[in-house]
């Protein structure tokens, strides 16, 4: 019974949502079910927060390796929680917005959280360089094609690429580097992406049917499928 009820709900909701696409009076069902999901997710957030606290309190209690980091985590968690719940520093009363200018929540968010997030995001610049270096090494035929294509696209995006091939006559203008770059992006690249997207679409149909028909049960914790 523990497994059958979720399977029945999955079947019922899945089928209903498929039909709602084709039946106009049912077209709002998708949005309504998203709202139900959001409500469930809000309750589940307590589980997440509870787990975070438990893990870090245990780490502190048992003085596990790097327990000092847990102090930072818990401090951050409780300070933000208090600033949000009690609206510390808000100019108006309790009904004012959490993110009103000057509130402690907003100040910490803008001055601590956003810069930290941006720092992590900035790491991408270095990682793109290291990943590109590995990807563009001409180890085999495919990697060489990739290297040549990327070289053309890089050159095509710079004035140098335009200058280099500006002598090419108009009849052969496709051979100019900027035009080659556009062609690579709009033809082979787009074709490849669309092929992947068609595969993804079919894959989604297949896994959705497995879920709706109850063949795929692993996500329910049922390993007997």
């Amino acid at each position: 019974m523990k497994r059958q009820i979720p399977l029945l709900i999955t079947f019922f909701v899945g089928t209903l949502l498929i039909f709602s696409v084709f039946i106009p009076p049912m077209e709002n069902l998708g949005e309504n079910f998203t709202l139900f999901f959001d409500i469930i997710a809000v309750f589940a957030f307590f589980l997440g927060g509870g787990n975070l606290m438990r893990v870090h309190f245990m780490k502190l209690k048992k003085k596990k390796t790097d327990w000092q980091f847990s102090i930072v985590t818990l401090l951050g968690f409780f300070v933000m929680l208090a600033a949000g719940i009690f609206k510390i520093g808000n100019s108006g009363d309790i009904s004012t917005s959490l993110t009103v200018e000057g509130s402690m929540f907003q100040t910490i968010y803008l001055n601590v959280f956003v810069p930290l997030g941006s720092t992590m995001y900035a790491l991408l610049a270095f990682f793109v360089a290291s990943a590109s270096y590995r990807a563009f090494r001409a180890k085999n035929k495919e990697a060489t094609i990739l290297l040549v294509a990327s070289f053309i696209i890089l050159l095509g995006s710079t004035p140098f690429g335009t200058i280099m091939t500006s002598w090419i006559p108009d009849q052969l203008s496709i051979m100019e580097i900027p035009n080659l770059a556009v062609w690579i992006m709009s033809s082979p690249n787009l074709a490849g992406q669309r092929a992947i997207l068609i595969g993804i679409g079919l894959g989604v149909v297949s896994i959705s049917l497995r879920l709706i028909l109850g063949l795929e049960r692993t996500y329910l914790g049922d390993d007997s499928a």
């Binding site: 498929i18 106009p24 997030g117 989604v204 692993t218």
Partner: protein, 404 residues
């Protein structure tokens, strides 16, 4: 006489000066208004295939509505008259527009409309349309081709599932990334290091996360068999509960329920880069031997994959987001591209019914391939030789595969 003439002159001058102070008081001042023509042929009609809540209003723009900085028309105002009542302004839209969709209406209430073109200081009103009421349609015939395609693909998937359940053997091509799962888990076991499983940053309402959790079930069973450690930091609470249930069931199936612990899965944060920082920290400190990056990933994909690469872990990644695939291909050992992510659980389980669903998917691929080949050939040769029959085929295929 001279005095009378002078008096008239003074009165005339006075009137002239005061008229400049108050331009509204004299009719000739109207010439300073930017007069424009109104929009014409305004039609209100039922919006097809909705739940009796929308009406479509179309019109021919004012002849003064010209493209450019000197356009005298600054926009259009749309007025609605409900059941013969007072006009109500419902929208103000940009110049160049010729249609508007009025939403949130009710069935059996009659609506009429008029549209005004507006300049800086002038409003030219169109005629009022006939009264119309929104109608409900029970089937969306605009989507008939989509329904047909969905029916064909779904039927073929169900047919092959039934076909496979009768014991018929099906050929499924080898997927390198999934063939490597055994070796990857074995490597972690031999090295005595944990396995890190990252299910992306989306919640359980994303099919990619569902796919990742189903793969987790198969991976966790092998991990339990090998008695290796698994570590799964997640960014969504619901994913945490689902993953715990999945791993628990896998350990039970493997006959090692005692080895399971809730601490294998722990919640980090919903925030994208906060989650990335925590997972990167885990990678650098615990140095897992194997990392699975399966699910929905965004800008964090390369940060995670490169950090994993830097610690020398064997990495198996998979996502259905084409923009992130190149990053995984560059930084990971194996990448499940798009559909392979969704096929993985069926592939790993080896269940005939599950494999049957993959076979049914191939019918869809066959249709797509045939349509692409026919479409490309008919479009190319139709244009070159100017053959109407071929151009009609192209047009028909476009109509068939375009969702409006």
């Amino acid at each position: 006489m001279k005095f009378i003439l002078s008096l008239f002159s003074i009165i005339f001058l006075f009137v002239n000066i005061s008229s400049q102070d108050n331009p509204e008081s004299f009719p000739f001042v109207d010439s300073s208004k930017i007069t424009i023509a109104p929009p014409t042929s305004v039609i209100a009609e039922d919006f097809k295939y909705d739940n009796a809540e929308k009406l479509s209003i179309t019109w021919i723009p004012s002849i003064d509505d010209q493209i450019g900085d000197n356009n005298k028309v600054k926009g259009y105002k749309i007025y609605r008259i409900t059941d013969g009542g007072q006009p109500e302004l419902i929208a103000e839209i940009l110049p160049g527009s010729n249609n508007y969709l009025d939403e949130g209406l009710e069935e059996n209430i009659w609506y009429s409309y008029f549209v005004s073109s507006i300049s800086d200081n002038f409003e030219a009103r169109s005629n009022t349309t006939e009264s119309v009421t929104p109608k409900r349609e029970w089937l969306n015939f605009d989507l008939k081709f989509l329904f047909l395609i969905a029916l064909i693909i779904s039927s073929s998937v169900i047919y092959y599932i039934r076909h496979a359940s009768k014991g018929k053997k099906l050929f499924v091509r080898k997927i390198a990334g999934l063939e490597a799962v055994d070796d990857a888990i074995g490597r972690a076991t031999e090295m005595g290091r944990p396995i890190l499983f990252i299910p992306g940053i989306h919640d359980m309402d994303d099919v990619q996360t569902l796919a990742a959790i189903t793969i987790l079930g198969n991976v966790a069973r092998q991990i339990a068999d090998y008695d290796t450690k698994i570590r799964m930091p997640v960014s969504r609470s619901l994913v945490m509960t689902a993953a715990r249930e999945t791993i628990k069931a896998a350990y039970q199936t493997a006959g090692r329920p005692d080895a399971y612990s809730d601490d294998m899965v722990n919640y980090i944060t919903d925030e994208q880069f906060g989650y990335v920082a925590a997972v990167d920290g885990i990678m650098v400190r615990e140095k897992p031997a194997t990392i699975f990056l399966l699910g929905a990933f965004f800008a964090e994909s390369l940060i995670l994959a490169e950090t994993g690469n830097s610690i020398g872990a064997i990495q198996i990644a998979g996502t259905a987001r084409p923009a992130q695939l190149p990053f995984f291909i560059a930084a990971c050992d194996f990448t499940l591209i798009g559909e392979e992510l969704f096929a993985a659980s069926a592939y790993l389980s080896g269940e005939p019914k599950m494999l049957g669903s993959l076979k049914g998917q191939d019918i869809g691929k066959g249709i797509a391939m045939a349509a692409i080949v026919v479409g490309v050939l008919s479009a190319t040769f139709g244009e070159i030789w100017d053959v109407q029959f071929l151009l009609d085929i192209k047009q028909y295929l476009l109509q068939f595969f375009t969702v409006r």
